[in-house]
Subunit: 475 residues, 2 copies
Amino acid sequence: MTTTAELDTITRTASLVAPMVAATTDIERALWLEAIADALDARVGELVALADEESSLGVPRLTGEVARTTAQLRLFASVVREGSYLDATIDHADPAATPPTPDLRRMMRPIGPVAVFSASNFPFAFSVAGGDTASALAVGCPVIVKAHPAHPRLSRLTAEIVTEALRRVDAPDGTFALVEGVEAGSALVTSPVVEAVGFTGSLHGGRALFDLAVARPKPIPFYGELGSLNPVLVTPSAVSAELAAGLAASFTLGVGQFCTKPGIVFVPEASGFDRLLAEAVGAPRPATMLSPSLATAFADGLALLQARATTLVGAEQEPGSGTPVVLATTVADILASPDDLLVECFGPTTLLVRYGSVDEALDAIALIGGSLTAALHATDDDDIAGLAESLARISGRVLFGGWPTGVAVTWAQQHGGPWPSTTSPGHTSVGAAAVRRWIRPVAYQAAPSAVLPLALRDDNPLGVPQRVDGVLRLG
Amino acid sequence: MTTTAELDTITRTASLVAPMVAATTDIERALWLEAIADALDARVGELVALADEESSLGVPRLTGEVARTTAQLRLFASVVREGSYLDATIDHADPAATPPTPDLRRMMRPIGPVAVFSASNFPFAFSVAGGDTASALAVGCPVIVKAHPAHPRLSRLTAEIVTEALRRVDAPDGTFALVEGVEAGSALVTSPVVEAVGFTGSLHGGRALFDLAVARPKPIPFYGELGSLNPVLVTPSAVSAELAAGLAASFTLGVGQFCTKPGIVFVPEASGFDRLLAEAVGAPRPATMLSPSLATAFADGLALLQARATTLVGAEQEPGSGTPVVLATTVADILASPDDLLVECFGPTTLLVRYGSVDEALDAIALIGGSLTAALHATDDDDIAGLAESLARISGRVLFGGWPTGVAVTWAQQHGGPWPSTTSPGHTSVGAAAVRRWIRPVAYQAAPSAVLPLALRDDNPLGVPQRVDGVLRLG
């Protein structure tokens, strides 16, 4: 565990180094990210073996996750090279205006040292060198990662590789650091040096840290991705055995340990979907979960739901493992007990909700509040415009067909949504726009050209997109 | 005062109407804003007379403020017509990728009903039809304004004009509402219907409302513009009588009742600036402040500062008025008692801080934490790059020459900064980017074209800027 003295040194160093990191160019930092990606790729075998020992997620999935993580680092490198994220905006002085307006130039600057809390379920993509770290380094913020206790050795190895890669490309010492332990985590959130926090984890843990961040004498932005139900709406015409098979694969993928797991599925009553899903799940088999405490939490959460809902496919849970369970209830029961039934149960389970009419299902979906995703399974004969709008109202990503468990890392991805899925509905933790969490605007009024950041100069030496006197220009 | 029953009706209506408001087009809402602007301009005489009765700010200033307010409404109309704010991003499916990526399209959508808290010091520009209201309506959010008690009749008249203008251009009933009273204000912040809050006012009042917003079962974004010291750094070579005259005019403008008032000015010791400023201020004369309680707070704040600092130009304060006061201290005293001396005193006063070296002044400026603005007065002989960087670290707008009290409403304006100047350093409450506070991203995965918002279609019928497969394209 990181001691108080060690943490003091780490935060003091981050504070001292922040102006140097902020002063680096986008091109330099793109090279940092690519160096980290190359270094991780070069040691993929060793990393995956250690990750499998600690997470039981299996070599194929973990190998894919390393690739996703290094692709993510390279995406953020391309995002800062492209330069739109700077929002470079130039308004020339207008002495003829009433009152006359001065020369004003605005762009995004790094917010300062960022604390990142790793998640257990993605030991690469949402951990030490994951999306939060990559996006914060990309824009020029020092990063202090709080390791997840479910994979301590992997966290340390990853941190060593990141530190070494950064050193090789001359990033300032102290640009990146790792801390361990619950107390170090809380101390990070309340440290006067830390300017923003990224978090992926449970509603309970995330809310506790959020409360710390906003109660500080100087509150700071807390970008938390918490829990998500990810409702799926199946119209009567879309019911099929293939759909049931898709759902079975999605809710059991990675032992159900995805924040985008389809946790609640609205199906027409008397449509036979129950039976199709039971057949698709087959004989449930236990699989090791990420940690014994997660397995216990899964069993406990299941027990609460099973007291309220029918068990369609069930099994005794074994210590340390999760075994698939399918539950069923009705819209009437959801409307009667939303607080008991609309709760995330992290692990391989999903709740089927039988509806009489689609409108009735939408009433229940509206009660979910906020979710990372919402999926619609319909056919060409369905009129889906209104349904799509209802699903967009409670989520950050609306899927038409398909399953939410895949999260592509691209420019248009949105991984975030209204509370409780995130603390900050205006942001994303995956995709190019994730950098927006770690920047703040600064305007320069009547500045001599030599003092201006390059992105704000009239001759645009970096070739970034600029808005000049209200008109957007490509770089 | 708005009763609980009235507030219930208002919030319930805002909730019901929100989907309808969100479904309007940018072009429609641009017309709403222009209709409001035209309606205010048409009644400028009546509005200004009432505002002067309630605020004592004088006819010329208030007439200018109406023009600024209607120009602001028209700027936001042009911002949503232009469409960059939507961040329209299209990633076509890539079946050849590992794993294959789906078609993903992301854009900004309105966040839902917004509560706006008016300020007393700008009865037009930061009040009922001010920047928060205009920017939230612009992007499709219903707005509920909490009137400022310092100008109740003007608030009601403005609300009538806004409501009538919106009705004339067929905005849904309930798109806009006004409430009055402290209790109604708190109830708005905790209402489950309200999705975000805009606030301009004191650190004390803003923090109390911020604490309510983040303590909700479902926390919501709170965009507060609180207090600001707006430091000014004068280099030895820049000292002049003209500069002193500029400062005297700026800190007394509008009886010092600006959030951008230069409240602390770092000047070289033994430079004679004290005397130049005293001459420029001349014989101080009282002027009526916005409210008796503000005048009392000014006198109380002054007394606290005067216990710690020297009074260079002073006067007995009269009830209801503010009379200019110039205080002086040293960097050593600031470093010894930052909590006593680095406090905003809203009214016509400024604190001169004598420094031995510029580096010493920067040490004291770093203790300010966050400010809306920071201004540098230097000459061509000064090496200012490092100074500019230090000032950018603690502020949202860095001025090179000039005074911070003028805030141009343009695309590149930034009115916001690190705590305590705002609760949200990543945002602005003035300028085109102010719309960003009221939107959240939604991604559509594999959506049929007919279901997509127009801004996300391949044929781009609205002609908005789109990023397609990573490449930004003009509309």
